[in-house]
Structure formats: structure tokens, C-alpha cells
């Protein structure tokens, strides 16, 4: 059964530097890092102390709130440093990778004969659980709450993001295994959405419902698809998994190995030859970035993830746990004479206020990190709605978050959103408000107060 989902509201941000569909092996990273901050809301308890030798898949730490939830090392090697920040908060586990990778053996499993509980405990024990996230709150799924459905978005609309159809090619077997496993974890369905025009390896999978999605960004955001397929109500939970992470889960079940390898896109206008790389979670970004060469090296921002939701990791940073791309764009740390009133041709704007991006709908832009203005109070109304396809009042929800009004947040649909859904409203915001941060803090408050 397949259903069509068509999104009209939104905005495709077309940027220079899309990754060419060629995959090369990245040079081996010396050090890999896992940052507990990638797992929002998790307080780590150290398992592998400094100096421990770990195999790939062996736990580095577990969650303070649930000791069954293990977080694995992506590679085998020695834990050379546990970086700590203020109040001794753990910032990163650094692992010096072995030349010959050794994998912890979790055993080959036959998914079809396993029960839901078997699969759950297997995923927890093997460190694959963190790949499963939940709505509401956009955090790692609580294994004790049964989800009403599981959603997988195989449609990519974020600017310069890795194309799911391309990176999943040839992984049908792993994907099918993982989807079958997931389908046993819920009484509802596993919903998979694929691009209507694309040719996704996901579209032929069994034990799932396939949806064809079309439209501009954020049509690929899973919240948008959930809202169209089976919206979340108060008291319900749904789980969400990235398709690339399904491959890791599938491989674990098929081979017994936790293989953190993934194909990532290196993109952005500062990259000389943007293309795809095969690397591992937690690898040094420099192991891919400099292999392709960058323009104007002193003036770049290296982002793990896409330009809308990724993280500024700096050139000496590491690939984030959930990220499928590395984007490099120029920093915009410069003044622009009369930049606020002169006609603008080289930036994207949803308005026509002497901005002319509406004349060139297919032009690709080379945007910098400049905010194009200063932070202001919310003034303009009605523009967020044009890029926000959910049936939610975005401005009102943001204001409810700013004033910590839990009742209003709940009523206005806070359970249905994740910070990434506010990336576009943040992009077009005339007042340059930090929408994603506001929503994240709002979700955290709700999680703490309501749970």
C-alpha cells in the first residue's frame, strides 16, 4: 500500500557545492571521538576509562537514567582521552583507532524468529539503541514505552544533504532486516517515506507502509510526514530512525558486528570537489575535508550535518553521531556597506524587498554564515506560515516557549515538533531569533516538567 504526501509550503534553499555522486574511501582517521552532547539529554556514566582497549561496538558509557542503554565505540582501539569541560562534564571520548579493526561479536541473529523483547534487548546490548529516537521531545527513545508507530524518512530535502537514495544503494538486505526487526517493536506500522520521483532502495521493503512524498523542504523532515500520516497526540510516542542508521542495525543483526561505517556527503561552496566519502561515525572531519581541498582555508565554517541543523565542529572536529554529511561554507565575518538597504542579488530571501532571489528560482547561491542583520524582537507576522507545513501556529508556539507557558506549548502542538522543523522559519526570520534553540529549550522544559 502506498500513499502520496504532497507538501506545498516550504522553501528549497539551493546552494552551490552539491556533492557529486562519486564515492571514495576517506583516509583513515587516527582518532575518533564520540560526544555525549550528540545524544541530547543523556548524562553519561563512564564504562571505558582512559587507557582501556575497546573493540568496535563495546560500550564507552551508559546513560545515567537507564543503565541498559549503552553507547558503543565506533572503532576498536584505545580510549586515549576523556575530555571534560566545566563542572567535569564529559565533552568527548577520544579513541585512537587500531589499524586492524576488531569487532565485538554480538552473534548472528535470525530476525524472523526473534520476539520484540529479544530485539529490544539485543539492540540495547549492542549499542544500536541510540539510533532510535522518539517524538515527542526529539530524544533517544525510551525503551519502556511502546511506540504507536515507527517512522523512517528516506526523502532528502535539506540543502546539500546526503541523498538517501544514493547512499543506500545496494543495502537492501540490511535495510530489510532492520525494518523487520523494528516492525516487531511496535504494535502499529513502520512507515517509510520515499521521494516520489526518486528511486529509493527503501521503496521495495516489506513489513512496512511506503509513502511517496513530494514538495520542497521540509517535506523530508519526519515530523511533517508524521503529521500527514498519523499525528502524535498527547500521551503517545512514535519512534524515528534515520535510514543510514538502519544499515548499521541491519548489519549488526546479519553479521553480529557493529560496523559504524557510513557514506557521507562532503558539500558546500568552500569545497573544491564536493563528493561522497566512506568513513565512520566519529571520524576527524579533516580526514575528508582536506582530501577534497577547500577555498580560502582561513575563512571557513565546517559543519557536521547540513547547513540548517548541523553543528559547527571547526576544522579539527569530528563527525557527529547522527550526521550524514559535512558541509563547508565561508564564514561571513565581515561588514557590508549599506547592506540593509541596497538591492540584493546574491542572497536568498522569501520577500521581494529589493531582494531579487524571486527572479531566479533555479539559481544556486553561495551563502555565508552572516546573519544579515541583528537580533530583534518578534515583529513581522505571517511569514513563518509560508514555510511551515505543519498545522501549528509557529509564532505562537515560539512565544509560548519563550515565556515557558507549558499549557500553551502542549495545546499548540509541542509534542509534534522537533527543533529541525523550525530551521526554515529560523532561516527566514526577519528578527533573527534563534528558533531551534527556543524550541529545544521548550522541549527540555516539557520533558522535565511533564515527562
Amino acid at each position: 500500500m502506498s500513499k502520496d504526501i504532497r507538501i506545498r509550503k516550504g522553501l528549497d534553499i539551493k546552494l552551490v557545492g552539491e556533492a557529486e555522486k562519486v564515492t571514495v574511501d576517506a583516509i583513515r582517521s587516527n582518532v575518533y571521538a564520540i560526544r555525549p552532547d550528540d545524544f541530547h539529554g543523556i548524562v553519561p556514566k563512564v564504562v571505558a576509562k582512559q587507557g582501556t582497549e575497546v573493540k568496535a561496538g563495546e560500550p564507552l558509557f551508559y546513560s545515567k537514567s537507564n543503565e541498559k542503554m549503552l553507547f558503543p565505540s565506533p572503532v576498536s582501539g584505545e580510549v586515549i582521552e576523556i575530555v571534560r569541560g566545566a563542572k567535569r562534564k564529559i565533552l568527548a571520548f577520544k579513541i585512537l583507532g587500531d589499524k586492524e579493526q576488531k569487532y565485538a561479536d554480538f552473534g548472528v541473529k535470525d530476525v524472523n524468529s526473534m520476539s520484540g523483547d529479544d530485539i529490544k534487548s539485543h539492540l540495547l546490548a549492542s549499542g544500536c539503541w541510540p539510533f532510535i529516537k522518539q517524538r515527542p521531545y526529539d530524544v533517544i527513545a525510551n525503551p519502556d514505552v511502546a511506540p504507536k508507530a515507527i517512522f523512517i524518512s528516506g526523502y532528502t530535502t535539506a540543502p546539500l544533504a546526503a541523498d538517501s537514495d544514493y547512499v543506500l544503494e545496494g543495502k537492501e538486505k540490511e535495510l530489510q532486516t532492520a525494518v523487520t526487526a523494528l516492525s516487531k517493536l511496535t504494535e502499529g506500522k513502520v512507515h517509510i517515506s520515499v521521494g516520489k520521483k526518486g528511486n529509493s532502495p527503501l521503496s521495495g521493503l516489506e513489513n512496512s507502509t511506503i509513502h511517496n512524498v513530494s514538495g520542497p523542504h521540509p517535506a523530508g523532515n519526519v515530523s511533517v510526514q508524521i503529521a500527514k500520516i498519523d499525528p502524535i497526540n498527547k500521551g503517545e510516542a512514535v519512534w524515528v530512525v534515520n535510514p543510514q542508521d538502519l544499515v548499521v542495525i541491519g548489519e549488526l543483526l546479519l553479521t553480529g558486528k557493529f560496523n559504524a561505517e557510513r557514506t557521507i556527503a562532503l558539500a558546500g561552496s568552500s569545497v573544491k570537489t564536493p563528493k561522497y566519502f566512506k568513513t565512520k561515525i566519529g571520524a576527524e572531519v579533516s580526514s575528508v575535508v582536506y582530501a577534497s581541498g577547500v577555498h580560502d582555508e582561513g575563512n571557513i565554517r565546517v559543519i557536521s550535518g547540513d547547513v540548517l541543523t548541523g553543528e559547527n565542529v571547526k576544522p579539527d572536529g569530528y563527525l557527529g553521531y547522527y550526521h550524514n554529511s559535512i558541509t563547508v561554507i565561508p564564514e561571513g565575518d565581515d561588514y557590508e556597506l549599506f547592506g540593509w538597504n541596497k538591492p540584493i542579488f546574491n542572497k536568498i530571501s522569501p520577500s521581494r524587498a529589493l531582494t531579487f532571489s524571486w527572479l531566479f528560482p533555479n539559481k544556486k547561491y553561495e551563502l555565508t554564515t552572516n546573519t544579515n542583520g541583528e537580533h530583534r524582537a518578534f515583529v513581522v507576522t505571517g511569514n513563518y506560515e509560508n514555510v511551515f507545513p505543519l498545522d501549528i501556529y509557529p509564532l505562537q508556539l515560539l512565544k509560548a516557549c519563550v515565556v515557558n507557558d507549558l499549557d500553551a506549548m502542549e495545546q499548540l502542538g509541542m509534542y509534534e515538533v522537533a527543533p529541525e522543523d523550525f530551521a526554515l522559519t529560523e532561516f527566514i526570520c526577519v528578527s533573527k531569533q534563534p528558533h531551534q534553540q527556543i524550541i529545544r529549550e521548550g522541549l527540555d522544559l516539557m520533558l522535565k516538567e511533564i515527562g
Partner: protein, 408 residues
């Protein structure tokens, strides 16, 4: 070392000092700041609040220029020095240097006082409250001189601006937080504090009040009359202006509100640039037309006779209401103020419609002052949050219903 670097050094020097907001206000007028993204999306759209406000100002400039010429034209016309122009919008008798001179002399001081006093108050509050100077006043400062009578004494304007900015805006927390439109708050303050300067048949033309005082003092001079179209209608007088005069704007009135054609163009420009809300503009026009038609219906049903003091305003052709008085200006520039208008798209339809509807209602029934758009907008400003509340409640109810269906 270029200007850019010099200003950057100064910015660093003033950082964390009290003067910083004032300096930054000027600095950011010259240069788009070098701020980069810190959280969330790493790239941002091209628009900021300055650009948004600047677009509105661009739409206002033609009205200002026209207002200057018209100030001179009405003055010379009332003084009997020139003949009324008849050759359409570009009549040379209107666009003359003589007219402009009077306009510059009378209107520019209003603009300067409005901006000078208003921005001084804004900067003062920014310094005290340690936030950046927000751009809201850029538009307000341009609106204020355009919605007052040309002979408004400057000290009065200054007092009103201080009142409007402090009480109308800053006490609520500044730009984005106010309930009432600041420009209209200023206008309303003037109207209620100094009514003799804001209404009647003398104040709309430069020199008329002065001349009346001279005549009262015993001078042998012809009186200058400067009645607005609405004023004449309210008193049941014969109209001396043609519909084309009203549409083009060759009539007395507040400085910038007279030219319906320029306001129409400005409205289209604001809609095209997506800065002004077309929903509010369209629904306000609809509301006014509906009310106008109702009054026309009352007249044609003969529920009211010619002796009534409301007769001539009620019998005014319904669509003429759009081009006389301050209606068009109010709808295009004031009702669309995003801060004080309804914030939901559905709410905007209701809000705009009621503004149009109530404007004409007040206009016809207000015996003291035949203009309604100011009071209608202020009234609806107060009710905008209520409208939004019910629109948002609709969304909340939908969500509750979904939950009930699920759990039932």
C-alpha cells in the same frame, strides 16, 4: 585604514559601555554588521528588520513628496493666488516651485521634529535598558508628519511624539511589544489634547488659522477656508471637489493622506514586496464597501430624510469613502502594522474587515470629527489579541478533538 576598520575599532572600544546602543544604531546604518550565526541554522535569509522597515519608508516617500506640493497648492489656492488645476495628475500648476517651497518650509520641520524627538527617546531607552535600538520608529517617524494637519505647532508635535513613544511603546517593552500603533497613539494624543488644532475647517490649509486670527483682530482680509471633503459632507455642504480631485489628491487634509492614487500604488508595492499584509488591506476595503453599501441602502430605503445631519455622509456613494479622508492611508500603512494587527492569517481577515466596517461607521456617526479610521484601527488594535485568541483556539480544539477520537 578605511572607514570600515575605523568603525570596527570604535565598536570594540564602545562595547559594554553605556553608549554602545547609540553607536551601534549609527554603525549598523552604514554597514550590515559582521555578526555570524551561533546556534541553529548556519545560513540566514537576506531580510532583516531594517530592510523591512526601509521598504515601508520607500512606499511612503511619494506620499511625502506629494504632501509637500499639496501643502503649498492648498495654501495658494485658498489664498486665491492660483486657479484650481484641471489637467490631471501632472498639472504644472500643482507641481510648481512655489508650492514646493511652502511644502518644504512647513512639512520638513514636521519630519525633522518627528524623527529627532522620537529617535532621541528610542536611543535613551535603549541606553537605559541596555538593548539595541530597534527599527520600529523608522516607519512611525515617517508616518507621524503625514497624518497631522500641516499647521500643527512643532512643540505640540514634540510633546505628542514623546507621549506616543513612551506610553504607547516603551512602557510595554519597546518595538514588537506594544498594543497600540505608536503613530496613531501620537495622532490620538494630539486629537484629544489639542482638538482645536486637529479638527475644524481651518487647520488643514497652511495659513488659514493665522488668517482667521487676523480677521478676528480686525484686519480687512478674505477668510481662507480649508475644509476637508469629509468636513464639508458632515455639514451637508455642496462639494467643490470632483471625484478625480479626490482620487489624485488635490484636496485639503492631513499632509500625506490625500492622494488615493499614490497610496494605492504604495499598497500594491507593499503587497508585491510581501512586506504589507494583503489580507488586511483587501478585507479592510471590503469592510468599508459593505458599510458604505449599508448606508446607501438606508438612504434609498428612505429610512432617513434629507433633513438629518447624517444624510449627506450616508448618501455618499459607497466607494467614494475609499478615496476621501484618511481611510486609504490608514488601511495601507497603519492597519498593516504587524505588531498591533492580528498575527494569524485568519485573524487578519476579521481584523481588516472590522477596521473598514467600523471606520465608515464612525466616520458617518461622529458629529464632532468626521473621520473614523484612526479610532477604528486603535479599537481593533485592542481587539486583535482577542481575535487571535479565538483563531488559535480553533487550532487547539482541532487537536483536542483528534485526541478524543483516538482515546474514545
Amino acid at each position: 585604514m578605511g572607514l570600515k576598520d575605523k568603525l570596527h575599532k570604535l565598536k570594540l572600544k564602545y562595547k559594554d559601555k553605556k553608549i554602545a546602543p547609540a553607536f551601534n544604531a549609527i554603525h549598523t546604518f552604514l554597514y550590515l554588521p559582521n555578526e555570524t550565526t551561533h546556534s541553529g541554522a548556519h545560513v540566514r535569509g537576506a531580510d532583516d528588520l531594517k530592510r523591512t522597515m526601509n521598504t515601508v519608508i520607500m512606499a511612503l516617500i511619494p506620499c511625502l513628496i506629494f504632501g509637500m506640493f499639496n501643502a503649498g497648492y492648498q495654501h495658494h489656492l485658498a489664498a486665491g493666488e492660483i486657479e484650481a488645476v484641471t489637467n490631471g495628475f501632472f498639472s504644472s500648476g500643482f507641481w510648481s516651485l512655489d508650492n514646493l517651497t511652502v511644502g518644504l518650509w512647513k512639512v520638513l520641520p514636521l519630519v525633522i521634529i518627528s524623527y529627532g524627538v522620537g529617535l532621541a527617546v528610542e536611543i535613551l531607552f535603549a541606553v537605559i535598558k541596555k538593548h539595541e535600538v530597534e527599527e520600529g520608529y523608522l516607519v512611525t517617524g515617517m508616518l507621524v508628519p503625514l497624518i497631522v494637519p500641516v499647521d500643527t505647532p512643532l512643540w505640540m508635535l514634540a510633546v505628542a511624539v514623546i507621549f506616543g513613544v513612551v506610553i504607547g511603546k516603551e512602557v510595554f517593552g519597546g518595538t514588537g511589544m506594544n498594543i497600540l500603533n505608536p503613530a496613531l497613539t501620537i495622532r490620538a494624543f494630539l486629537f484629544f489634547a489639542y482638538p482645536t488644532w486637529m479638527s475644524g475647517d481651518k487647520v488643514w490649509v497652511h495659513g488659514a488659522v493665522e488668517r482667521a486670527n487676523e480677521i478676528a483682530g480686525g484686519a480687512e482680509l478674505d477668510a481662507m477656508s480649508g475644509e476637508t471633503v469629509l468636513g464639508a459632507l458632515a455639514q451637508g455642504k455642496e462639494l467643490t471637489y470632483s471625484v478625480s480631485d479626490m482620487f489624485l489628491g488635490f484636496i485639503p487634509g492631513s499632509v500625506g493622506e490625500t492622494s488615493a492614487i499614490l497610496i494605492l500604488l504604495a499598497g500594491l508595492f507593499l503587497i508585491f514586496t510581501k512586506i504589507g499584509s494583503w489580507r488586511i488591506m483587501v478585507s479592510a476595503v471590503l469592510g468599508a464597501l459593505v458599510m458604505g453599501l449599508i448606508f446607501n441602502g438606508v438612504v434609498s430605503a428612505e429610512w432617513i430624510n434629507e433633513g438629518s445631519k447624517f444624510y449627506s455622509l450616508m448618501s455618499t456613494e459607497f466607494w467614494h469613502h475609499l478615496i476621501i479622508g484618511g481611510f486609504a492611508f490608514g488601511v495601507v500603512f497603519m492597519a498593516t502594522d504587524p505588531v498591533t494587527a492580528s498575527q494569524t492569517n485568519k485573524g487578519k481577515w476579521i481584523y481588516g474587515f472590522l477596521i473598514g466596517f467600523i471606520s465608515i461607521l464612525i466616520r458617518v456617526f461622529n458629529p464632532a470629527y468626521p473621520e473614523g479610521v484612526m479610532l477604528a484601527i486603535l479599537l481593533m488594535n485592542v481587539f486583535a489579541p482577542t481575535i487571535d485568541h479565538y483563531v488559535v483556539q480553533g487550532n487547539i480544539k482541532k487537536r483536542m478533538k483528534r485526541l478524543k477520537l483516538k482515546t474514545a
